[in-house]
Structures are given as structure tokens and as C-alpha cells.
Amino acid sequence: MKLKVAIIGTGNIGTDLMVKIMRSENLTCTLFAGRTLNSIGMKRAKEMNVPISDQGIQAIIDNPDCCDIVVDCTSAQAHITHWEVLENLGKTVIDMTPAKLGDLCVPALATQKWINGRVDNINMITCGGQTTVPIAYALSQVHKDIDYVEVASNIASLSAGPATRQNLDEYVQTTEEALRSFSGAKRSKAILVLNPASPPIDMVTTIYAKISNPDIDRITESVNNMVDNIRQYVPGYQLLVPPIVKGNTVTITVKVLGAGDHLPQYAGNLDIINCAAIRVLELIAHARKH
């Protein structure tokens, strides 16, 4: 039996996730619900014989048994009302928006509590969070007292749909909070730049940290291990510039190439948060089988 997943939100994130789910041996998408049947995502779902609806969350209210788990790919604002409904229906929800209602989840760091069903609103933070939080955590494994961590992501304009653009503030706040909570850094900052270049740029993210007397050898080892760990579920994750130490600052640049499922390879931002969600879904599917 495959785990039955409903997706609400048929934009870039939802469509890419749907493609990834349908490729999995353990998962199937049993509902792809949005507000209009004319979108590119809806057409793609129809081609793949995935049940579609233009009724949004109402499609799940009308038929709650259509799915075991719901993935919300709408916006932070919409997720707040969706969660009220889904909580009452007793659904486990993976939240792809930066609404931050549930516990923050990075698959590379800890997965146990998610798959045991102890958390029913799993927040996937942000694309920048999935990219940088594990690296900040790797730094904190070497240096407990990180004063400041800053992450700056450049993503292609074409990869940022309307909800992403509406949610820049939530992106920044949720990424910053996740950085502090996983790395113990006292202060954090997240910056997102949309780049309209043509052809589109790949997602490139730089992580800066202020650490007194950084130990470059141990940092490099810790970061390399973490990159290997992330690559297990995000194959396109690469260390572009290995850790560089200058005085009390550490700089690391990573690049995420997408799998090219919905948008082309440049949209690594789409890929990393979706790969993270797939990882969680696979683990839940595995746990529920046994």
C-alpha cells in the first residue's frame, strides 16, 4: 500500500512535489487541489492521471478519506486557515509555507519525532532554511558559541511564484528563527535576492558566521560530512566554495541544482524543500508499513 498524499496548492512547489511523489514506490498523489483547472500544474496532473480539484481545501473536507497525509503548498496566510480545518479532520500535515505553526523540520538533522507521528504539523521551514540550517548546525557541532550566522540566497526570478513573492517576510523570519534554534547562534539574518537574469541563474547560497577562533580543519570535516548527509536526499546539493576562515568569520557557499522535474535545473530552491518533504513522506510511509 502506498501512502496517499493530497497536495493543496498547484503552483511551482506543488507541481514539482506531485511529480516527485508519483515517481516514488512508496507514495502516491491522490488529490491535487487548487483554485483553477487551467494552471500549468493542473494540466500536468491531468496528464499523469492524478485526481484534480479546483475546490482547494474544500476537496479534502468533502472527502477526508482520499488521503493519509496532506501537503500544503499554498501560502503562509492560507496555511493558517487550512490548518484549522485539517487539525479538526485529524490529518497529519506537511507545511511547505513559512507559516511556522508546527515544529521546524530538517531531515538531515533529526527525523525520529516526525515519523513516530508525535508531530502532526510538520513545517519544512523554507528553501533557504533547508539549504543553510544543516550547515549552521554543522558549524555548531564544532563551535558551541556562534555569535552570528547570516545566509544570503540568490534564486532565479522564474522560480519564485506569486506565493513565494508574497511571503518574503515570512521566508526571512522563519529562516532566521530556524538558524538560531538549530545552531544556537545568538543572532541570525536571512537575505533573499530574486535574480531576473536570462538564462536563469542556479540557486547559490552563502553562509557567513562569526565564531571566535574558528578551527578550520574541524569545520571543514563537519561541513563535508553534513553535505554528504544532505546529498543522500538532495542529489543536486554541492559545496561550491568550501569553508574559508578570515579572522573570526567563516564563509561557505553552496549551490543547489534541481532535478528538473517541474522547472528546469536552475530551480534548486524548489528542489531542496521538496526533496526534504519527500524524505519525510518516505520515512512516514516506511513507519506506517511496519
Binding site: E150, A152, N154, S157, P162, R165, Q166, L168, D169, V172, Q173, K189, I191, L192, V193, L194, N195, P196, A197, S198, I201, D202, V204, T206, Y208, K210, T249, T251
Partner: protein, 346 residues
């Protein structure tokens, strides 16, 4: 034609770029007092990239936004206090709320010329707080006129009470400015403004072309104090506008006095068009590419200036550094094919 031109003075914001964001509390206090005395209607302050932008990526400011706003607010009475806001750097909760509490009068919410929609919530929030709000389109030369107009109309639809286009690379000539301002004035119901840079020595001429085309708001910095080659020089602009018969509400002698204050405060940094500024202005390319271009030019034995021009043809934007090596390589190859089979590059 507008006879009154409203001048916004970003000396204490754009100028912060020129000193790696190290303007001091005395710099802010003394220049605010001088601008106030001269009757400058709007003084923009802050980190070079605006609210919430002090960072390791762009540069950490000496003072916090809170310190800058507190000092500036104390020193400005008639002059309005303005703040530059780039969504993706500044957020409503962390930055705008505090800035409103600290007494900012005007928010200028800015995005790259093709990305106006990231400004919607920030514009709406500031408008709902009864603040005066402008939309700003940066690197405006990089979009065709129809795109520029449609992005500007988005800003207007979000509630912007004025629209400013920035010539961030100092690339425009007066005819380009006139064409763009005319299109904007014809398609918007809100005042239109122009923010010049002086890479090619055109900032004053471009500003004059802008007002002749119907623009009613100009940005200018004292002694041109601003990023790269500097901005439109404020005291020159005031002199020129008055001679052309426009009013600004600014006292000429007192703005000249402010220039003396600035000379003492901001020395030894006086912006000028360096060779790289000129090339950046001509090619319309982000000047921050310079270091990568130099490396690529060495690696492939091509002229860095040729790389800049080719980057301009390809409309390269900041963040697209990877294309530089590709361009250098292509130039090196075409140099070998002297027969000219690959002249499309040049």
C-alpha cells in the same frame, strides 16, 4: 510642465556605500542639521541598501538602524525623514514597525526593475500606517519601456504615491531618460521621479531631461556623495534648476554651506568616475563584477573591458557571476578566429 520640483536627498543613505556603511553619528547629525537649515524637503538615511540591510554580504554598518533613525529624527524638523526599503532585506515585523515607531515619514520601497511584486505588502503596510510611500525601480535601464511601465503600474496599484526610477549603473543619456519618463508620466496617475548616477557625467543633464519630460521629483546627494561614481550632485542641481526657473524650496546659499559641511564630514571620500565606473556606465553592468572580470581577463588573456561590454549585451545582473568566465572564454575563442566568423560577440 511642473514648475516645482521636490528634491529627495539620499546623501546619508547612498553615501553610506562610499564609506562601506561607516557613517558616524556626527556625520548623520551634522549633515541632517545642514540639510534642514537649507530647506531640503526630504532626507533619506540608513545603510546603503536601506532598512535591515546591514549584513556581512553587503557590509555591516557602523550604526544600527535604530541609532541612525534616532539621531536623524532629532535633527530634522521641517525636513521629512525617509527610509529606503528592499523586501528580501527588510521585513515588516523586524524593521518597518520599528522604523515607524522611530518617526520615519516616508518609505521608499524598492525592487529590481522586473520584480515590483515583492513590494506589495511593504507598500500596503506603510500606507496603512499613514506613511507617505513611494515605489522605486532599481537598475531601470535593464527593462524595455513596456516592462518598465507595467512594473511601475504594479507599484501604483499597491498604493505607491509616487514612482522613482533609478539609473543604478549611470547608463542613461538624456534622450533615454526623456523617453522613459514620458512613458511613465503618460501611463501613471502618480508623480514620477528620477535618481541619477554620474558614471558618464550625465547625472545633471539626465535630471534636467527628466523634469522636461514631466518628472516632478529628483534625487540628489551633496557633493554627489553616493555609490560608485556618485549621484546627481545636489548643490549643482539646485543651482541649475533655479536658473532654469524651477522652484525647489531649497536655499541656494545654505545648500552651498551644506556642501562645505559635507566636505569636512565625508572627506576624503569624494566620488568620481573611475575607469571602472565609466566602463560600468557604458555597458550598463553592475560594477560589483569588477573583481571577477579581472580574474577572468587574466585567465583567458582578454581585455577586461571587452568582457564588461559583452556582459552588457547579455544583460548580466548581479548574482550571475558564473557567466563571466563563459564570456571570457568565448572572447578568447573569437580572438583566435581572426577571420571573423564569430563576430556576433563583438
Amino acid at each position: 510642465m511642473n514648475k516645482h520640483i521636490t528634491i529627495h536627498d539620499p546623501t546619508l543613505r547612498d553615501g553610506n556605500h562610499a564609506v562601506r556603511h561607516q557613517l558616524t553619528s556626527n556625520n548623520f547629525r551634522r549633515y541632517c542639521l545642514a540639510a534642514e537649515a537649507a530647506g531640503v524637503p526630504v532626507v533619506e538615511v540608513g545603510h546603503g541598501n536601506g532598512l535591515g540591510a546591514s549584513s556581512m554580504m553587503v557590509g555591516e554598518a557602523l550604526l544600527t538602524d535604530e541609532e541612525i533613525l534616532t539621531i536623524s529624527r532629532e535633527s530634522l524638523i521641517k525636513s521629512k525623514l525617509s527610509m529606503h526599503v528592499i523586501p528580501g532585506f527588510a521585513t515588516i515585523k523586524r524593521d518597518l514597525v520599528k522604523a515607524i515607531d522611530l518617526g520615519v515619514d516616508i518609505f521608499r520601497v524598492a525592487a529590481h526593475v522586473t520584480e515590483a511584486d515583492i513590494c506589495q505588502r511593504h507598500i500596503e503596510y506603510a500606507r496603512n500606517a499613514d506613511k507617505n510611500v513611494f515605489g522605486v525601480l532599481m537598475m531601470s535601464h535593464m527593462a524595455d519601456i513596456d516592462v518598465l511601465v507595467s512594473e511601475a503600474r504594479k507599484m501604483q496599484s499597491y498604493g505607491a504615491e509616487g514612482l522613482v526610477i533609478m539609473d543604478s549603473s549611470g547608463n542613461y543619456f538624456p534622450d533615454n531618460v526623456a523617453e522613459r519618463i514620458t512613458a511613465l508620466v503618460n501611463n501613471l496617475d502618480i508623480p514620477v521621479g528620477f535618481h541619477g548616477h554620474n558614471n558618464l557625467g550625465m547625472a545633471i543633464a539626465n535630471s534636467v531631461a527628466a523634469i522636461k519630460a514631466g518628472c516632478s521629483l529628483l534625487d540628489a546627494s551633496i557633493r554627489g556623495f553616493g555609490a560608485g561614481a556618485g549621484n546627481t550632485q545636489l548643490e549643482v542641481l539646485v543651482a541649475v534648476l533655479h536658473r532654469l526657473g524651477y522652484t525647489t524650496g531649497i536655499d541656494l546659499y545654505k545648500i552651498l554651506d551644506a556642501a562645505d559641511v559635507a566636505e569636512k564630514e565625508f572627506n576624503p571620500v569624494a566620488p568620481f568616475s573611475s575607469p571602472m565606473s565609466i566602463i560600468s556606465g557604458l555597458s550598463g553592468v553592475f560594477s560589483g563584477f569588477a573583481k571577477h572580470v579581472e580574474t577572468a581577463a587574466r585567465d583567458y588573456n582578454v581585455d577586461p573591458r571587452d568582457i564588461f561590454f559583452e556582459l552588457g549585451c547579455r544583460k548580466a545582473v548581479a548574482g550571475q557571476e558564473s557567466i563571466i568566465f563563459e564570456v571570457a572564454q568565448a572572447l578568447a575563442t573569437s580572438k583566435e578566429n581572426v577571420a571573423g566568423s564569430n563576430l556576433t560577440l563583438l
